[in-house]
Amino acid sequence: MKKSMIAYPYLVWMIIFILVPLLLIVFYGFTKTTDQGIVFTLDHFKRFFEPIYIMVLLRSLYLALICTVICLLLGYPLSLILASKEYRHKRVLVLLVVIPMWMNFLLRTYAWLTLLEKNGVINTFISFFGLPKMELLYNQGAVVLGMVYNFLPFMVLPIYSVLIKIDKSIIEAAEDLGADSKTIFGKIILPLSLPGIVSGITMVYMPAVTTFVISRLLGGGQFTLIGNLIEQQFVYTGEWGFGSALSIVMMILILFSMAIMSRYEKEREGGGLF
């Protein structure tokens, strides 16, 4: 008996519960039931190209992009500070960035509902100073805010872990050679932290594109994202063919961008050091 044979139970599990379900998505995405039985069709994909659905896709990509940019702008300085000389020994601070991530993400999103609603904490605070109440909930801003809140740690962690590994003697060498802090940042720290930035972007952008819960709770159902559209097809309207086609599009989009990102990451790792 070959020793690798003990993996067979898992292989069976893997085929039934990973591969077959994905093949079923492909099956539903490319077929429809007619009077003659099940036939091959591209109708579901054609339907996706109707303006209303293209808009949904573009909106998802756009909101996720804004979220990623904000996360990068907030997260990069934060990682720099956490990895700086004064703070690098205070590992507790990094843990503090991670902890909210371990809380149920529905609760984290729900927490913002409490803050932003019409009689919520922020509005109460504002009206205390005699200012008029604001509509903070159920708009694009609230959706982006919820995404940033949920995914910011995904940006900070990879960048931080790259920054902390930068060889300090390189920076000292640059200082000895008379480089000012601006040059050091531009010529050493930023290029060396690029792999972290790339994986941070991947880790924020992917879940932001596919979310349907944040847009539902904080957007109040007015801001349909591609995730909401897929959920609708399977939970409410029962149009599996269309839902499967949407899933295939999303899956390809994500695996494709992952492949590009990981390739870029590898290139940098090799070339960036010399």
Partner: protein, 260 residues
Amino acid sequence: MRFLKRFYLGLIFLFLYAPILILMVFSFNDSKSRGNWGGFTLRWYAELFRDREIMSALYYTIVIAILSALIATAIGMVAALGIHNMNRFGKGLVINITYLPMLNPDIVTGISLMILFVFVNMERGFISLLIAHITFNIPYVIFSIMPKLKQMNQHLYEAALDLGATPFYAFRKVILPEIMPGVITGLIFAFTLSIDDFVISYFTTGAGVSNLSIVIHSMARRGINPTINALSTLMFITVLLLLIIVNKRTANNSGKENVI
């Protein structure tokens, strides 16, 4: 500069923790509206424990988490041993497929399993939920154990066999102690992932069987309810404790696994 750094850190942590803290504070508020403070109360906690829906969800969450973590760890451990002994081609193929549930968006994993269950005419409920959780847990277990197997000295196992140990005895006495840290990390990983999951559960469960995430989702859609605040406070403290345990472990294992 020093002050600026502090100020920035303070702002970020305020952003990260203010919502959670306010949620916790209002779980003790004796008033249904969030606008005013109506005095200290524990009544939302009492209501929480009387709520049938939440209690049954808590029961399912814990049972599913324990069962799926144990089963995923058992399957994953045996799978890791087998994969470790495969030839290059087989290994690459299996590992790449194992990555799929980790790379795929949760919503795709969720609907793909949902389609499968409906396709084979299986009623969605406890069993389908359990299968779904085991499926997304196994990869994390396998990838916790594989590095340990790679680090291990291959000849130890062969030496044990040469000295007359049966394969199972050699596994128990030689391999298992070596990979144990990875097994435990995988187990805890699987447990926390299962407790935290919403998206995949949402698509794979049926009427009558809900976990906490699903109940929170439906309650949050209905509007704000202080009982959820009480529930969040308890869950946050539980997760915090679990995290401390996991972190102690990974720190002891020279911090190999990253805590994500």
